[in-house]
Amino acid sequence: MDVRSQMSMVFHLDKCLGCHTCTVACKNIWTDRKGAEYMWFNNVETKPGTGYPTKWENQDIYKGGWERSNSGDISLKGAGKMKGLLNIFHNPNLPVIDDYYEPFTYKYLDLTESAQMDIQPTARPVSLITGKPIDIKMGPNWDDDLSGTPEHARKDPNLHNLSATEQEAMFQLEQIAFYYLPRICNHCLNPACVASCPSGAIYKRGEDGVVLIDQNVCRAWRMCVTACPYKKTYYNWSTGKSEKCLLCFPRIESGLAPACMHSCVGRIRYLGVLLYDADKIQSAASASDNSLVDNHLDIYLDPFDPAVIQAAKDNGVADSTIKAAQESPVYKFVKEWKIALPLHAEFRTLPNLFYVPPMLPVMATISENSKDLSTLNSKARAWDDKWLYDTSIDEIFGSIDNMRMPLKYMANLFSNGDEPMMADKLKKLMAVRIYRRHVTVGDISEAKCKAALKDCGLDLASAEAIYQMTSLAKFDERFVIPAAHREQSIEMLESTADVKGSTGFGFLDKPARGI
């Protein structure tokens, strides 16, 4: 057992309101530079939709991630030692800037400095690459809120195994539903970007599992862009170096939440430590398709198990980190309550970002309500107009079968196509709602509520805990971050007198393009 610690995340999709505050916070800190304008370390996509870059989930196009051979070995789909070195002069699987979008701004000065004319001056869009006027054809969030559905939502790669009828049903105007999918780097346990880098510039930090690109070693061989199935490594065309989300590691080291998480308005984001067994990575990543998710989640260890604690200590994991692992909200969501799943487990990178699937837009059906209102209390009745989201509980879990978004679609994203697993998570979320309805509205008996909880392996205490963590958790409960130890912090090891009068510590070169 090789116990290591990993900073991992949970995004609760039911709470995401699609405000893009996370995106803006990240943009302003990290990618507001020449060559990085088109990069979004954090972005929020509308599902169904094609995302950014367009159709990134379709690995027939982008060749990202790992693939499993019949013999059970895994290899990189579009990169690797043979393919990577043979394609080094021209990488046939590299997305070009148009697959993302050509970054642009507007000539705002034209509005104020234009000569007097008969017509109003306009601010024309100009490319941030060439500086020339362009027609904007694409943006980082072009299909937000289902805009351009025929072009975008209809071409969602996750619809590939849905029948034409199922797809039609999904896109009926009265039926149509969507939810948001915020994405950052997954800081995977089996990162394809690291494995694909010919220079060895990309690495996983042993202490906290953050995946980083060493800017001094990157030589622009561009294989990481192909290999990352989530398309979360980006090539900076100006400096000639690849860049990616760094989980705001300077903030994490000092115990602060990353900028995207700190600024999250819906409070959907949770960050905490998971202890995992590095010896199991290879077998988990090469597990068969139907046991992939289970094997992935099996890697994470119980932080209360004395054997795990001892093994962690032997491996240099600090007591504060072990304590953080015990209080980790991520551990609770993923291992204790089992309501969070990784995104696209089939890419086999073992991502460390888990999603609590959205229940409301998915399960609620809109129907003409003909329920007997007499059982409801007066407040609930007042809300119950004729057409309403039908979250009725007469038939517990009944609506899972006629969800607005087919279970198959949801399973394609979060459970590697395993529909019962997906239904199980949605059932749990529904059961927690039933429990809360029992507590607040009171039209559900305790016996019925307990039956619903028991049906999906929860009890009153865990339902209350899920509710607390989902709705009421304060900052320190959502983010349990063990700060770096002072005695180990890098800057403490240097004499400040040595660098007095100079620019400071760390990476001091300007990120200027090589000659």
């Binding site: 046939p92 070009v96 220079s199």
Partner: protein, 237 residues
């Protein structure tokens, strides 16, 4: 003049090359192949692949002739013809590829934005060098033979510290030009994007796929006997 061009200039070029590339490598960040494939992908394919393939083979052929001259002198008859034709084909590939690359670089708006004077200068120099090289191969036939017997000794004399300027001065003009241009290009390597050929990632072949960097030695970090006084600064800072 010959003394300057063939006696002194090669040394200047080699010293600048050595010092310059090492200095640039130490600063790290500016060492990159500066790929422009993200901005333009399609044309790059039909230009970059033949160019790199061509220059790689031709460069290695020159290197082998320099290091093991006897390898080429062993060729004769039809095998010599095949060798010459192969050389011409790869030289031609390199030339055509680079001309395409040059055209792409000056006609594509986006690629222009990542083009500087040195990129253009080095591409023009290389085009000239390839063209002259092809001319030499056609005009002065059986180059693989006389390269091994006549040129390799001059190059060896350079490294022995006593350049054989007299032998060089007797060579045809085209060949002299080829040699001077070669050293000019070597001179410019540390100031151009050509440095990327020095960091060909062959170590990738033997490396394990996953890379983990520990800031600290995890086996001793919790040991009370570990002194923080003599801990080395982590290499990724």
């Amino acid at each position: 003049m010959d003394v300057i061009l063939f006696g002194a200039f090669p040394y200047v070029a080699l010293v600048i090359f050595l010092v310059g590339t090492i200095f640039r490598y130490k600063t790290g960040f500016k060492y990159s192949s500066l790929s422009s494939q993200l901005l333009e992908g399609k044309k790059l394919y039909s230009a970059s692949v033949p160019f790199h393939l061509g220059i790689l083979v031709v460069f290695l052929a020159h290197l082998v002739g320099f290091l093991f001259p006897s390898f080429y002198t062993s060729f004769g008859g039809m095998s010599l013809v095949y060798l010459e034709v192969a050389g011409l084909i790869f030289g031609f590939l390199a030339l055509v590829g680079l001309v395409f690359l040059f055209i792409r670089r000056i006609t594509n708006d986006r690629v222009q934005m990542v083009t500087n004077k040195m990129d253009l200068a080095i591409e023009i120099l290389l085009i000239a060098q390839f063209a002259i090289g092809l001319l030499v191969a056609i005009e002065l036939k059986w180059g693989s033979g006389w390269y091994a017997s006549n040129m390799a000794p001059y190059l060896w004399s350079l490294f022995a510290g006593s350049p054989d300027v007299v032998a060089m001065a007797a060579m045809p003009f085209l060949l002299k030009l080829h040699v001077v241009l070669a050293f000019a290009i070597i001179f410019l390597i540390p100031f151009s994007r050509l440095v990327h050929f020095l960091v060909v990632p062959l170590h990738y072949i033997t490396r394990p796929f996953q890379v983990v960097r520990w800031n600290w030695d995890r086996k001793t970090i919790r040991d009370p006997k570990t002194s923080f006084d003599d801990i080395q600064r982590p290499k990724n800072n």
